[in-house]
């Protein structure tokens, strides 16, 4: 019984610890269902345990709280402040009681009834839900010093070697079958033991990564963003100690990426990116390091902003500006810096990148940044490989054995293979395999070993080192083993071709090759490929302009629509289109979408439909036929009046009308969330300039725009061409636009009217100022 109580105490304590964050969050947001569920599960578990552990006080408290929470879950009661407080008080009391049980002290119980009484709301019938048996997470653990584990591991290795030695000796002579059987059993046990012992120290990095998908989803959802997470290299095994140390920095970096890096869907579309942000987290081994890379395709680091921020904090701005680009990026690691203007719920917790870097440096690692403004940020955490288990291929070269990490090997071919061709170009050998051509290195030559004559084909491993691939020829492939890799001494590592050393069962040390290092030592240079790729990128950038879909509309006109707005083109039956509830609607994938069209929809058997998406809303647009994907020229003749057509562009000497996506959404989207958008009032717009030019900009930035207020509306911000009307200025912050480029003087806080970025940031700043 004591065991059970101890287990209950440990478990409750653990859950309470995990729950503390949830409780705080629930307090702030009582309607948050996930948190409510977490707290409900907790009290429910406590209640269940109390039943058979005979802890009546805890049972009564948890039972009462559970009932109330069940009612909240059913929607019978609403989680108002008194209720939340009462529940939290009970959770706290459960914690106190558990501690009291553990320490064997007693806690006066007159408070319990008060706490339970506080849960009541008038005279309510308490309906006890008949809930299924509780589920317990069996999480028993003990703490052990790493030293002890290390001793155990090396003892284990000794045992394996001793067994091998014994087996070798016995193999020599005639042995009794009973001894052989005993040895066999010993071998089996030792093998199993070794796996177990290894697990005590090593863990797949998956343990670190498995929590990411959920976290990314929740974080992104909380920020109104959508992020696709890709996780690679979960199989890499790391020292448990290292994994624990990496947990917080990784979480922080990932949250930062989602919060600061990846833009909102609207911004992303405006920047010509996919709406879904991409976040890739990967782990790989390189040399004597494990590299964990977190890359996103967000806006990158704005070093200009960093400098402004630091300068505002009292740093010498000229000195900051004099720094190299790289050093400027590194400013992100300065303490007391939040590169976002407003502290957000997600990452604005006062933990900066400085803490992240300190944590990583503490375990002997480092952080590299690679930021391309507007394109994304790649953060690489390099941690030293203290110990790792990798799956390796053992190759023979020059009569010696070497290990190559399996992860680096794309495939292994023989030089006698049909699809293989080896040529000598200048002084270099080149391997061609299925249309790929890559440099071929001979391991013996690279290492300066004498080739041992042997018959049979040479084995060629195609290795990928991130920046490129090459082929590495060895005399033979011997084995495929899980190896415990430890770092080698500096004298060995300084050769640059080894990643570590290992002691396989043979008892003879073996070296793990560093494929990237070998390429480097052999003088392979993949940077040319890099340049080429970059050139391609630049060419693609040079033909800027927006990609658009060219189509024939229902009325026969050729029109284009920006590709970013098109989710897909679909064919639907004419019968799935109905004129319903005041407009044309189409049924696609079991959903009803508003259908926009210019031309006659009726009478067609089949329709092609563009599905247009702007993040929250979806609208369909009926067309006759999709033609081609084109690039819109920069020159665009705007339409004379707002309407479905934004303007006319010249494409292949033909006038093509450009569909005004904003108008389509404005007219046709079924509105849901629009009321939340801040309202921007355009005042004093005599010549209509602002309404026609600034309006689309504001709308893309997520504002609702009005030139006149409806009764009862208050603008969040007023945009005015000159002095705003006095009655408005008192109600809302005002941003003034000026038509001259230069400001009138120091006191002039107006914004030049062609300065898009300036305008948007001024709007944001004024609105934020008001909120404060």
């Amino acid at each position: 019984m004591d065991d059970l109580i101890q287990e209950f105490i440990a478990e409750t304590r653990e859950t309470l610890e995990a729950l503390s964050g949830e409780i705080v969050a629930w307090e702030a947001q009582p309607e948050d269902r996930a948190r409510l569920d977490a707290i409900f599960r907790f009290v429910h578990t406590v209640k269940g345990s109390c039943g058979f552990l005979d802890l009546p006080r805890l049972g009564r408290l948890s039972h009462a709280a559970e009932d109330v929470l069940a009612q909240v879950r059913e929607g019978v009661r609403s989680p108002d402040r008194p209720l939340v407080n009462a529940v939290l008080a009970i959770v706290d009391r459960i914690g106190e009681l558990v501690e009291a049980i553990d320490s064997g002290t007693s806690l006066p119980d007159q408070g319990d009834e008060l706490l339970i009484g506080a849960l009541a709301e008038g005279a309510e019938e308490v309906a006890q839900a008949n809930l299924p048996a509780l589920q317990r997470a069996p999480a028993r653990s003990v703490r052990l010093g790493v030293d002890l584990l290390d001793r155990m591991m090396s003892g284990m290795s000794d045992m394996v070697l001793a067994r091998n030695e014994l087996a070798r000796r016995l193999r020599g002579g005639d042995i009794d079958p009973t001894i052989e059987a005993a040895l066999e059993r010993l071998s089996l046990t030792v093998g199993e033991m070794r796996d177990t012992v290894t697990r005590t120290r090593m863990q797949k990095i998956d343990a670190l990564f498995s929590a990411l998908p959920r976290m990314v989803r929740d974080t992104a959802a909380g920020l109104g963003k959508s992020v696709l997470l890709q996780v690679e290299g979960s199989d890499v095994e790391l020292d448990r100690e290292m994994i624990e140390m990496m947990r917080d920095p990784l979480v922080h970096i990932v949250r930062n990426s989602i919060d600061h890096g990846i833009e909102s869907p609207v911004e992303r579309r405006a920047a010509g990116k996919r709406e879904n942000g991409r976040l890739t987290v990967s782990a790989r081994q390189s040399g004597n390091q494990i590299i964990i890379e977190i890359s996103d395709d967000g806006r990158g680091i704005d070093s200009e902003k960093l400098i402004r921020k630091l300068a505002a904090n009292g740093r010498d701005e000229t000195r900051l500006r004099a720094l190299s680009e790289r050093a400027k990026l590194d400013l992100v690691f300065e303490p007391g810096l939040s590169s976002k203007d407003e502290v957000s719920e997600v990452s604005g917790r006062g933990v900066g990148m400085d803490i992240v870097r300190a944590a990583i440096e503490q375990i002997g690692g480092r952080v590299d940044l690679d930021s391309i403004p507007g394109k994304g940020l790649k953060l690489a955490i390099h941690v030293p490989l203290t110990l790792s288990i990798i799956s390796a291929i053992v190759v023979g070269a020059g009569g010696q054995r070497f290990a190559i990490s399996r992860q680096a090997i794309e495939e292994i071919v023989t030089d006698h293979g049909e699809a293989i061709r080896i040529d000598t170009i200048g002084g270099a050998q080149v391997l061609s395999v299925r249309g790929r051509r890559m440099p071929l290195l001979n391991l013996c030559e690279v290492l300066g070993l004498k080739r041992v004559e042997h018959n049979g084909p040479r084995m060629i491993s195609i290795v990928n080192i991130g920046e490129g691939s090459y082929a590495l020829a060895a005399d033979m492939v011997l084995d495929n083993e899980e190896l415990v890799i430890k770092p080698a001494s500096p004298a060995v590592m300084s050769t640059g071709v080894y990643a570590g050393q290992t002691l396989p069962d043979s008892g003879l040390p073996m070296l793990l090759l560093d494929c990237a290092g070998i390429a480097h030592v052999a003088g392979l240079d993949f940077s040319r490929d890099d340049d080429q790729v970059q050139d391609d990128d630049e060419v693609a950038d040079a033909v800027t302009g927006i990609p658009a879909l060219l189509f024939i509309d229902l009325d026969g006109a050729r029109r284009a629509v920006p590709l970013a707005a098109v989710d897909r083109v679909e064919q639907v039956e004419g019968s799935s289109v109905r004129f319903a509830a005041g407009r044309h609607r189409v049924t696609i994938d079991g959903r009803i979408l508003p259908l926009a069209a210019q031309g006659e929809i009726a009478g067609r058997d089949r329709l092609n439909v563009l599905r247009l998406k702007d993040g929250a809303n979806e609208v369909s647009y009926a067309i006759d036929e999709a033609l081609d994907i084109i690039t819109l020229p920069e020159e665009l003749v705007p339409a004379r009046a707002p309407g479905p057509i934004a303007g006319v562009a010249l494409i292949d000497d033909e006038q093509v009308e450009l569909l005004d996506i904003l108008w389509v959404f404005d007219e046709h989207a079924d509105r849901e969330s629009e009321e939340h958008a801040p309202l921007c009032l355009i005042a004093g717009d005599r010549d209509g300039w602002m309404a026609s030019f600034v309006r689309p900009l504001l709308e893309t930035a997520g504002y609702r725009v009005a030139t006149q207020l409806s009764p009862g509306e208050t603008p969040s911000v007023v945009l005015s061409a000159d002095e705003a009307p006095a009655d408005l200025a008192s109600k809302a912050p005002v941003v003034r636009l000026r038509s001259r480029r230069a400001a009138a003087g120091a006191g002039d806080d107006s914004v030049y009217r062609y300065d898009r970025a300036g305008l948007l940031s001024a709007l944001e700043a004024r609105m934020a100022g008001k909120g404060r």
């Binding site: 070697l161 500096p490 300084s494 003879l508």
Partner: protein, 142 residues
């Protein structure tokens, strides 16, 4: 003040090694070559479950390599274990470390390793620092 020293034979001379630096004395078994490593590195050897880097002490001191040496002193430098090959081991005894007599030129490699002298029955023996013979580590020092 006396201290415990290990007296070993190295290229025909006696040297004194501070016993604090000596973890154990072993006979090295089969050695795995480390291609491309400096010639001071004889290779890797297994010492029970541990892999040690075998240092050819002769070449580290600028002498001709001693291929037949098997006996080694195990030392621990900066988180790694090294086996430094010696020709023979004489003695372990307490000695007092004395400064080198002024004006004695030891030769560059010896100079780097030399820490002073101890006197055994009137015979001066050079006391050496094993860490100075460890390749990579000594390079970082100099």
């Amino acid at each position: 003040m006396t201290h415990l020293y290990l007296i070993a034979q190295l290229a025909g001379r006696a040297v004194a090694i501070d016993s604090d630096q000596v973890e154990s004395v072993v006979d090295i078994g089969e050695v795995t070559q480390v291609p491309l490593a400096s010639q001071h590195v004889r290779g890797l050897a297994a010492l029970r479950s541990r892999v040690v880097t075998v240092v050819d002490t002769h070449t580290a001191l600028g002498l001709d390599s001693s291929r037949e040496a098997r006996r080694a002193v195990i030392t621990h430098v900066d988180g790694h274990h090294y086996a430094l090959l010696v020709d023979a081991l004489d003695d372990v005894a307490p000695f007092e470390l004395l400064p080198l007599a002024g004006g004695v030129a030891l030769g560059s490699a010896w100079q780097r390793a030399g820490r002073g002298i101890v006197e055994r029955d009137g015979e001066p023996i050079l006391a050496i620092d094993l860490a100075a013979l460890v390749p990579g580590y000594s390079a970082a020092l100099n």
